[in-house]
Symmetry: C2
Subunit: 189 residues, 2 copies
Amino acid sequence: MELLKEKILKEGTVGESGILKVDSFLNHQLDIQFLNEIGKEFKELFSDKKITKILTIEASGIAIASIAAQYFNVPVVFAKKTESKNLDKETYDSDVYSFTKGKTYKIKVSKKYIQANDKVLILDDFLANGYAALGLINIVEKAGGSVEGVGIVIEKGFQEGGKRLRESGVNLKSLVTIESLENNTIKFK
Amino acid sequence: MELLKEKILKEGTVGESGILKVDSFLNHQLDIQFLNEIGKEFKELFSDKKITKILTIEASGIAIASIAAQYFNVPVVFAKKTESKNLDKETYDSDVYSFTKGKTYKIKVSKKYIQANDKVLILDDFLANGYAALGLINIVEKAGGSVEGVGIVIEKGFQEGGKRLRESGVNLKSLVTIESLENNTIKFK
């Protein structure tokens, strides 16, 4: 997605320990007009799939999924990372290893909101090691639903997530793939 | 907002310790079509204000703010509750007391994304004791911006937040106000 590459080159910065910062439009401040372009692109990439629900993970995925859902005309469900009094007791859980935090956390989705007849599109902002996406796929499988695709805004091509998901047969599409962030320079694949 | 009252009566449940659960459309699963109705309503309620930015707090506020922002044509900023490697070092912070969790947590917004010339609309899903809203107001004030209004989807009228905010001169508008949840019955004001 050319528009996204331009946006990343214009507004993105490479922070410490090779982190790509896009918090001016995707992670902290949200450029809603631009997220609409992202939503349209996801709709186009997955136009051959009949989607009944979009699944994402709090917090950064929520804006992307919500705006994109308008083009699919389906509800969004976001997996919870934190304990919440509001969450049902009956949940599908999955363990997700966070590389940056060096620990495993649990993600949860109420059994009410992913069903066996659901055809799910998983959307998220970043794909690095792929553990969050695998956790979400695991939850859909536990519910007996089908994962029709995984849509990622920015794939870090130099990490293992993309390979890991594609090799396990996931219909993964990333809007842009970063080849390298070496020498603080953003290089696309 | 009549449509919202109907939705709450149809889908909402009263859980343990007087918690109103609306996770079928607002807190966990997100009814995006319905959130568009909420967004339009906020636009109407604050149509006399010139807004440059919508501020909310992760995670439940993000979907509401993102969809509503389409009617205001402005970016969203969401305050972070959790430490994040992606967050700038230069932040405006505020302490928020969580009644349900019985402890104080810090919310943070990068100094880049709220500026002295910003006219901010604060949006959130619930107003109970008002501490989250006061924390967000505090952050806008630290940045030298002005709070043009606070829009809340569901105000718990039997808790102190609404009174607290209105008495301090905040332009607070809630789409619905719950008068009581006694005997597991939802009663609107």
